[in-house]
């Protein structure tokens, strides 16, 4: 709610178009080893959208729940928190350092940002599973393990994306200020 109020009307088209881009990017299936994963990109979203990442994620999740049947209507709140909170943390942690770095360092920072985003989301998902009953604990551990390949892919792709953006359109990162 705080995040929604922070959304200036001048920023609505921008946030919406970027949210749509992230929605499409999450349809991309990236091969990792023998399997393939769909990216969450919450680290990247946090850095580019800042606070607007929260409503953007909420809307993407609503659309997934309603039009694709993934997730669910009742866990919408939990899911939004699980994905949006890491996005905000990433933006707070990495956005200030990113401006001051360049070249190869930038890629590694971006990769770290992507990895942290996914890791935090994985932890939060497991936590919310574990907290809803001790019976779900073993499943929660397995869920956390399945996030490992995702983390790898996410780190690599986020790193390359950020390096690319800084080179081509650095203003995209500075959008939130």
């Amino acid at each position: 709610m705080v995040a929604t109020r922070r959304l200036n009307f001048e920023r609505i088209p921008q946030a919406a178009v970027l949210a749509a881009t992230f929605f499409i990017a999450s349809l991309l299936s990236v091969p990792v080893g023998p399997s393939s994963v769909h990216l969450i990109l919450n680290g990247l979203m946090g850095i580019i959208l800042g606070w607007s990442a929260v409503p953007a994620i909420l809307i993407a999740l609503i659309m997934q729940a309603v039009f694709f049947g993934y997730g669910g209507l009742l866990v919408l709140g939990v899911n939004t928190l699980n994905i949006a909170l890491p996005a905000l943390i990433c933006s707070a942690l990495f956005a200030p350092i990113l401006h001051r770095s360049s070249g190869r360092q930038l890629f590694y920072l971006g990769a770290l940002c992507g990895a942290v985003g996914v890791l935090l989301t994985g932890t939060l998902v497991s936590l919310s599973l574990g907290l809803s009953g001790s019976a779900y604990l073993p499943a929660a551990k397995i869920v956390l393990a399945t996030y490992a390949p995702l983390m790898l892919a996410e780190a690599a792709v986020t790193g390359f994306t950020l390096a690319f953006i800084i080179k081509v359109a650095p203003e995209l990162i500075r959008v939130q200020e």
Binding site: R5, P13, A16, A19, P55, F164, E171
Partner: protein
């Protein structure tokens, strides 16, 4: 890219005569009730009710099945683990692990609940046009800015999806095949980066164009929805049914 499950000649005309707000509330009420239920016999009944509604509204069966299967894949881990992790009378043993009857019951409950809810959701809301859904949410007094964001996002997903497909086509023309290596990840990184850069430019053009037309932060939603007697009737009937199911669940 098509978001809705609705087909041109589907029988959902029948559903069309109801107010979208009613459909939203129905789905929500149904989901809440289903989650609260405990008895497996009642849950089976609920699942059949959802299937009946889906059949009456004539939603495409293959689409529904595909989406249900996708969800089942997500839940598989949880379902396999549950019988072994809930303590109780053991039904069969697998090495050092024993599957408890309680655990299996819980797993069956979850499958029934999830399927019923998703079927209902797909028929009631999944068949709505995204824009109509946005308007209905606005009429239900959700934050205005959130609705604006929703409507804009819906509008631009199809535009950007075309952009994405154009870029993928260009990649294919250069014999790009996705596999698990550095090259792929870098290409995808650049693909996403390019999409973001182009969409930022697009959003600046959109904002400029909207300002030209006097956009002051408010979209005036013109909706033709009107709440009718039959909407109230359906909602009331469903509320009573839900209440009845909950009471039955308690007494059984």
């Amino acid at each position: 890219m098509q978001l809705t499950v609705a087909e041109e000649n589907a029988r959902s005309d029948w559903l069309e005569q109801f107010d979208p707000r009613m459909r939203l509330m129905t789905a929500l009420l149904f989901a809440l009730t289903t989650v609260a239920l405990q008895q497996i016999s009642l849950l089976i009944l609920i699942l059949f009710a959802a299937l009946l509604v889906a059949w009456v509204t004539g939603i495409s069966r293959s689409v529904l099945l595909k989406r249900l299967l996708a969800m089942e894949g997500f839940m598989l881990v949880l379902l396999i683990m549950l019988p072994f992790s809930i303590p109780g009378e053991s039904l069969f043993t697998l090495g050092a692990l024993s599957a408890s009857i309680e655990g299996i019951q819980r797993a069956i409950q979850i499958v029934l609940k999830a399927n019923a809810i998703v079927i209902m959701l797909m028929t009631m809301i999944g068949t709505l046009e995204p824009v109509v859904l946005g308007h209905a949410l606005a009429q239900l007094k959700l934050p205005e800015k959130l609705i604006h964001l929703f409507l804009f996002t819906v509008r631009y997903i199809s535009v950007l999806f075309d952009e994405y497909q154009r870029l993928r086509m260009a990649m294919r023309a250069r014999a790009f095949i996705a596999s698990s290596n550095r090259h792929t990840w870098r290409s995808f990184g650049w693909l996403i980066g390019m999409l973001l850069v182009r969409s930022l430019e697009r959003s600046q053009r959109i904002l400029a164009a909207m300002k030209c037309r006097g956009f002051n932060g408010k979209l005036y939603l013109i909706t033709t929805n009107c709440w009718q007697m039959r909407d109230t009737l359906v909602l009331l009937t469903l509320s009573l049914l839900c209440l009845f199911a909950l009471l039955l669940d308690q007494t059984l």
